[in-house]
Amino acid sequence: MAGIRIDSVTKSYGGLTVLKAFSLDIADGEFVVLVGPSGCGKSTMLKILAGLEEASSGTIAIGERDVTDLAPGDRDIAMVFQNYALYPHLTVARNMGFGLKMRGTDAAEIDRRVNEAAKILGIGHLLERRPRALSGGQRQRVALGRAIVREPQAFLMDEPLSNLDAKLRVHTRAEISALHKRLRVTTIYVTHDQTEAMTMADRIVIMKDGVIQQIASPDVMFREPANLFVAGFIGSPGMNFLKTKAQAVGGGVTAKLFGHDVKLPIANAAALAGREIVVGLRPEHIAAGAGQVSFTVTPRLIESLGSEQYVYVDLPEEHRRDAGSGGEDESRRTSLIARLINPEPRPPEATLTLSFDPARLHVFDAASGEAIR
């Protein structure tokens, strides 16, 4: 086991720059999740770490050892692939022992370790089968098993759960977390699913277009997103954004929201007055009924999940951001979602009073998208 230090790694394919100055320090035993939308360079970073791709510049060290120009097999890491990449002509046991065999470990030792790993993962009865005779979930375990028998310095996992159905995914997610607690091997996990990132990670690295947006623990990421992109990506449903203008009033700053002058939770108020800002409000921070700031709406759509309700409301024109500013789809730009916990049943056409606490608001610069605190 060892820490990993990635120092300003870049990667370009011809003229296309896929990774820009990626730097990350990972502590020994840490579980780090790389998350971001499709095509942002997560897999590329992982392949560079594994040595399957060459970095255009920058250095990588695993446990104080510079591995930037080392062959994948000499880096002492194990990788779990999205499609598992189990060798179809080998039995499960041989698949798991393949890495040890390639390193010349003797047969008895391979057997012992394979059996041990199979016991941890509960796949002892599958050892003599071929991969094609396994279900998706079983293949996934074998792929994990192949990684853990090697007892490597670090695990790299590239979307290992994306081929499983929703229920199995939740189950396996918990299992991987438990496995990590047990083995304490440094793990780098790639996903585009923010729920996986939030539930599993010690630290999340959120990326967009090859640039790191924020590195933080799940809680900090949720409470203090560094910019509009992070705020919109973390959380489900994503944060509501309302465009408005900041005004200096007395010692503080207010913004006009739904016709009210709302005081913003900002420390350095002076610099902000008169600027275009975007105010962020999480769907779960909107409550039904009157509160500190209340407004009345006619819902466009109400989705009920039993224990909670998603209320979709058309945003007033003045709060809508310019098209294409956030990169997300049109409906998020023009609507506000409220997530009501344990709601009373209500007819969809009726008007509805919603409220929020101004202390829960997030404030972002409209031009740069950076958070203002």
């Binding site: 040595g51 399957l52 994948p72 890491i77 499609n83 060798y87 002509h89 393949f98 390639m102 090697r150």
Partner: protein, 301 residues
């Protein structure tokens, strides 16, 4: 409107009818151009026929053709020649075919051109290829003799087509040259269907290049290898034009394979019944050999 239960071919219970219906023309055609001649030749092989004519009255049934065949030294010689040819040519076809396929499967500049060059011998008609080689190996002004002398392998010209061993070697060379592109193309197709992640996983597992070849590439190619091997062996087994144009089966019957012998008996000595018997034996050997090859192809992919 309910359709007639009998004619509704879309019903699950009738679905296989449609298949048979669509297959029927092809089956009839095959029966006409393959099965019928097959029966005729099996029939002929049990008669003492010299020139076969369909309007001839049937000759009495006899096993004389087969008795003569199994007693004939020429037949066993032809079997041995054929066996040697099949083994040697298939082996080198695979060596060259797999080698070139692995080479042109790499990404490099001019890859398309390289693939074209590898496949080129396949596109040249057999007879033309043989004529070119006949010239290359000509004893007095052929390129090969000149080359061998220049390099210093031999000190006097070899008469390629009058020494049994040399003639056999030339036949093998031409067959390999003509046959390896097919293997190469098949292997290339097989190679490209191996997922990149198998190699990535093997690399992370620490497998060196040759270990990846032995543990990933070859096993993944096994189904393709099995089929290709059968096709190549059958091709060598029954190839006629290369040997016939190059050596005619000589010298001293050193290159007389079963198909050459069949031809010679049928159209050289007009012993149709006897030739048919050789043909039938060839067929049986081919069927058994290919059954064995296909059956032992691993079922693991």
């Amino acid at each position: 409107m309910p359709r007639s239960a009998f004619l509704d071919l879309a019903r699950p219970s009738r679905r296989h009818w449609l298949g048979y219906l669509l297959l029927a023309p092809a089956v009839l055609l095959i029966a006409l151009i393959i099965v019928y001649p097959l029966f005729v030749s099996v029939d002929l092989s049990f008669q003492n026929v010299n020139i076969a004519r369909l309007d001839q009255p049937r000759r009495p049934f006899t096993t004389a053709n087969y008795e003569r065949l199994f007693a004939s030294e020429d037949f066993w010689n032809a079997c041995w020649v054929t066996f040697k040819l099949v083994t040697i040519v298939s082996f080198f076809c695979f060596l060259l075919g797999l080698g070139t396929a692995l080479l042109v499967n790499n990404r490099f500049k001019g890859q398309a051109l390289a693939r074209l060059l590898v496949a080129l011998p396949w596109a040249i008609p057999e007879v033309i290829a043989v004529v070119i080689f006949a010239w290359l190996f000509d004893s007095s002004f052929g390129l090969m003799n000149w080359l061998f002398i220049k390099v210093g392998l031999v000190d006097q010209t070899i008469n390629w087509f009058s020494s049994p061993d040399a003639a056999f070697a030339v036949v093998c060379t031409v067959m390999v040259w003509k046959g390896y592109p097919f293997v190469s193309i098949m292997m290339l197709a097989g190679l490209q269907s191996i997922p990149e992640d198998f190699y990535n996983a093997a690399k992370v597992d620490g497998a060196r290049a040759w270990q990846r070849l032995i543990h990933i590439t070859i096993p993944s190619l096994m189904p393709v290898i099995g089929v290709t091997l059968v096709l190549v062996m059958l091709w060598v087994f029954r190839d006629f034009s290369i040997i016939y144009v190059l050596t005619g089966g000589g010298p001293l019957k050193a290159t007389q394979s079963l198909s050459i012998m069949t031809y010679e008996q049928a159209f050289g000595f007009f012993k149709m019944g006897y030739a048919s018997a050789i043909g039938v034996i060839t067929l049986i050997v081919c069927v058994i050999a290919s059954r064995l090859m296909i059956a032992r192809a691993p079922d693991n992919i």
